[in-house]
Symmetry: D2
Subunit: 195 residues, 4 copies
């Protein structure tokens, strides 16, 4: 339609899973909201960093009120001898929801990509220093059970070495998987770790 | 997380097809945009009505520069003796893309709902007056081939009467449909209108 | 496993939509049927042509009791001045189910394929002779609304010429189609044939 | 169509995943096979038990040449100190394909169903006797990671007791699972068995 339309549409296309068609429909929908709603929404987005930020210690998104998140405060009741490394905030929230884990986290932001090593190296170096200082007892790698997840685990091991006990979430049969269609890797882990 | 997070998330849930999970991911994604990007995006949303509006004559979304859209200007090169009634802007844009039609449009905004007659009646009354004034030669109903679409067509016919020639997009076999699975309605139209 | 297994499996793979995995499961399932069930099923398949055959006049599958099917008998109450050309028996059964049509049929068996013209030519020549003899008033092409369906219609027109009135099932909007995603061809037909 | 058609169709509907529509298409397809093919296929099905049978010792399907399958022969090179319990033959074949396991199998045929305990009890009693006699060192339960699979494992444990080492395939993250969507059960196993 015009520059305004295309510019706003291009911002919506930055959101995960949104293509040009759905981005257009988002703009149409905004036209039919009240002026008041649009102004409130725009203001929330513009001022987001007053309220949400990545923690300077674990890189998870938190509600601003200092430089580090509530999990990373020295007064936090969480078990800071464990640190779980995840790829992204959605993984962290899913794990939190289960209440199975009460330690600290460390958000990588992305997986290891051989063509773009720099970005992730910096964050893992940060993790490395943090471990040395805090004397964590265990680092738990909760990364995706995929090729890229494996590479990232290997890469982290190489950098962190044997300073701490490094464990990985167990591979095996996920709920609901069909043994008739399970792949070799999954079956191998399920068989080796049977108990 | 907190009020800010939930408030922004609730705005994203107003967008078509977006549930709570994806709305959360949109907020996480915003955190990782630059502050500059967020401010620009927020500003575009806040000031949207300076750039986009529904046309006061055909109700389609257009780039502001007056009260009516370029299609509805008296100087428009389009064939204003035809007026195509569509449910929503996305339908209009899909039809425009094909370049098969060069008349005017009229966007209903929603289909007829017996429990909420008022909303749509007002818009159809508007269409009715407009027809009387402009002496359109044909109104083409391009509404969905569904039960609700049928009801809406009947409702429009009742209000508009026989002031103009009222036609409907033809029913029949859509590209790629499988005759083995075609429903009775589609087959009946395809058979009756064979040629 | 062995030759027997693979041979039976290969027969199941001749059935439409059945790949090697499902074919194997069919064989396992047979092992768990009763011996009596297997023998009955085997006998039905072996003796199928005593009960089912393609009609010598319209090529649809019918219950044996003569050379031609009940629709093609001279005593049939069906309207034999119309003949509807379909690709396959499943299309015919779907159309019969709607009770919208009471004429004769002609099953092509496949669509026109430029690399394999011979097979279909023979059947269309047969249709051509039949039309001459029976003086049908109308041939209705009920072929798929796809590229290959179009080619087949053109091919039939070329052979049959203007001996009879040749019509085609109407193209247009099928039940449930979304105007926002309708392709250009469908919209063109829907617009041209509006009424 | 007629009794013959419906009878043959009902046999095809006994095959896993086949509904009335696909069963009809199977019959149509058979009409177009050669008479020779149909007779061969019918004969293979009728005489199936001369070639395939369930083993009298492990209940897997095998190529006839005695009462027990090649895996169960006393001369088998397989490691008969292990016995893996699976639900169905397709699971067994998938595990064999990976070449990760070289022990014996035991096919349950179905999972534990509280409303129909009798069927499965008989087979587990058989397994129980077999274990006593053969002095297997380990029984590996390779049953589905579902509620019903859990119940079946518990049921087997109760009957077999602590005569042998009873292990289960490990639960955890299957290849390709997304941590953002992993269910609580899977995460709990993945966390508890991390290493």
């Amino acid at each position: 339609m015009n520059n305004f339309f295309n510019e706003l549409k291009s911002f919506f296309q930055k959101l995960p899973g949104i293509g040009p068609r759905q981005a257009s429909r988002f703009v149409y929908t905004l036209v039919d909201l009240t002026k008041e709603d649009r102004e409130k929404m725009g203001e929330l987005i513009s001022s987001l960093d007053k309220y949400l930020r990545r923690c300077g210690s674990c890189f998870r998104i938190f509600s601003v009120g200092g430089d580090v998140c509530s999990f990373c405060l020295s007064t936090s009741p969480r078990d800071n001898f464990k640190i779980m490394v995840v790829e992204k905030d959605s993984d962290l929230f899913n794990i939190e929801k289960t209440k199975l884990y009460n330690g600290a986290y460390f958000v990588l932001g992305k997986l290891f990509d051989p063509l773009e090593e720099a970005g992730i190296k910096e964050r893992i170096d940060f993790l490395n220093k943090k471990i040395k200082k805090n004397e964590q007892a265990e680092v738990i790698l909760a990364l995706p059970p995929s090729k890229q997840g494996e590479f990232t685990c290997e890469y982290i091991k190489k950098i962190i070495g044997d300073k701490v006990f490094l464990s990985r979430l167990a591979r095996g049969l996920s709920s609901g998987i069909d043994l008739e269609y399970a792949d070799e890797n999954t079956l191998r882990h399920a068989l080796e770790n049977r108990k």
